[in-house]
């Protein structure tokens, strides 16, 4: 919608915002800073370097507090620049479905489980919880209602938590894909495509390793443009090697190497794929895409710092942490 409606004005209205983002990109962590963090002897030294770089609000904060504040800073900055935040809903739908999943589980076990909900989705987490508790999904957005009912029935009647998760994960991917397509924004569409691709591959590999049946793959895998769902299902039913063979015929042939190495290498490959595809936005001066790319870059940065801090906390060797680090946007 953003890039389609009023081809001229709609894009032009982000010129100021893009210029602000360009200035902010200077503060993004680059490779030398990551090396500096890696070379820190202790976890506390890492926190100090981050605080010196302006992360967090004040010294003495825990890692989790610093990371939460950094995420909040990003969204506060974007809210300052964009009046209609619905442009970025594509990034938030998965949070809604996570909250829906958490609410169904919580209602099912009839116990309050602390800290299972995520903030900042497109739908208030309390509203989602109330909808599940009252078994009335009419207050939820249209794209959530059917999946919510289906997952609810699966959990409450059959007690099948895994199937409940699959239904909601698939619905989340379908929603991200559909809404990104409706937005007409190239970056959002590319993000959605890659999210579906990486989730499908993840699911296909795990399913193939555990010998899942065709019904599982049909239900779990979402449609996208760059992977043929039928081919992927056929390969997943045959085995992991067949998935590698199929992938070698697609544009994601480099995923085979990552998958063969380890699952954490594959997860790193998935994150790097998105970051590398959005890098051209560094040179885009018009449209909402550089803002969306900045959000993804910040999320990637926070994730990388979390991995690094967790490695330092567990006293993992430097090389072991390094191979888990994601590519940076800058």
């Amino acid at each position: 919608m953003i890039e389609r409606e009023g081809v001229w004005m709609s894009k032009e209205q982000y010129i100021y915002a893009v210029a602000r983002v360009r200035s902010k990109e200077l503060a993004l962590l680059d490779k030398p800073v990551l090396e500096q963090l890696l070379s820190c002897k202790t976890y506390e030294d890492c926190l100090k370097v981050l605080t010196d770089k302006g992360w967090g609000e004040h010294s003495g904060e825990s890692a989790e507090e610093i990371l939460t504040q950094e995420r909040e800073k990003t969204w506060t900055f974007i809210r300052e620049l964009v009046t209609d935040m619905s442009v970025f809903d594509t990034f938030l739908y998965e949070k809604d479905f996570h909250n829906l999943k958490a609410a169904i589980k919580q209602v099912y076990v009839r116990n309050e489980v602390p800290n299972i909900f995520i903030n900042d989705g497109t739908v208030d987490k309390e509203l989602i919880f109330e909808a599940v508790k009252n078994h009335d999904f009419t207050n939820l957005p249209d794209h959530m209602q059917t999946a919510a009912e289906e997952a609810y029935q699966m959990q409450m009647r059959n007690g099948d938590g895994q199937l409940c998760d699959i239904i909601l994960d698939r619905a989340a991917l379908d929603t991200v894909y559909k809404k990104a397509g409706e937005s007409g924004n190239e970056l959002l569409m590319e993000y959605a495509e890659l999210r579906v691709v990486t989730a499908n591959l993840n699911c296909a590999i795990r399913g193939a390793k555990t010998g899942k049946r065709i019904e599982f793959f049909e239900m779990a895998l979402a449609q996208c443009q760059t992977l043929d769902k039928k081919e992927l299902v056929r390969a997943a039913l045959t085995g992991v090697e067949a998935i590698y063979d199929y992938l070698s015929t697609t544009v994601y042939d480099d995923a085979v190497f990552a998958l063969k190495e380890s699952f954490s290498t594959f997860e790193r490959w998935c994150d790097n794929l998105i970051i590398n595809r959005i890098k051209p936005q560094k040179y885009n001066t018009i449209s909402v895409s550089p803002l969306a790319a900045y959000i993804l870059a910040r999320e990637n940065e926070i994730k990388t710092v979390r991995i690094l801090l967790s490695g330092k906390l567990n006293e993992l060797p430097e090389n072991s942490i390094r191979e888990r680090l994601r590519d940076m946007y800058v």
């Binding site: 893009v18 210029a19 602000r20 360009r22 200035s23 200077l26 040179y283 001066t285």
Partner: protein, 160 residues
């Protein structure tokens, strides 16, 4: 058809100032937004981004110049404004390079300026190079200005 010559000549002059001016206004406005974005976070870059903002503004000045020369040549600012339809159409055509090229070059130059403002916001020491990119677009506005001036001056002595 009598008297229509001056109408076309005047329309040409007005369009040169109007269309090129609109292009410059759009261009300077776009670059100004980006410049304000950079200065919000780093006020020390004001002078650099200001120059880049002003670059798409020249087409408006060229348009004004063409309009002024045409007005003096066709007698609107004094003298006789009697001219044939053919001569009026020739003046109209002579003003068009500045009007059309002025508009499009201003808008495209503004986009180059936006990119250069981004460059300066990240690498202020590269200001010299950043200025060259939008300045290259200026070449075509100057060519249009030149051809419009030559055409207008060449029409005046024609006995048609």
């Amino acid at each position: 058809m009598e008297g229509l010559g001056i109408v076309f000549a005047l329309a040409g002059a007005i369009l040169a100032a109007l269309v090129a001016g609109i292009g410059s206004a759009i261009g300077v406005g776009m670059a100004g937004e980006a410049a304000a974005g950079v200065v919000t976070d780093d006020p020390s870059k004001f002078s650099k981004v200001l120059i880049l903002q002003l670059l798409p503004g020249t087409q408006g000045i060229y348009g004004l110049l063409i309009a002024f020369i045409t007005l003096t040549q066709i007698g609107v600012l004094g003298g006789s404004s009697d001219m044939s339809l053919e001569k009026g159409l020739l003046y109209f055509a002579a003003c068009m390079p500045m009007a059309v090229v002025g508009y499009f070059s201003a808008v495209r130059q503004a986009k180059a300026s936006l990119a250069s403002i981004s460059l300066v916001s990240k690498k202020p020491d590269q200001f010299g190079k950043a200025m060259i990119f939008p300045a290259m677009v200026e070449t075509y506005a100057i060519l249009a200005l030149l051809i419009s001036i030559l055409a207008i001056m060449g029409i005046t002595p024609l006995a048609i």
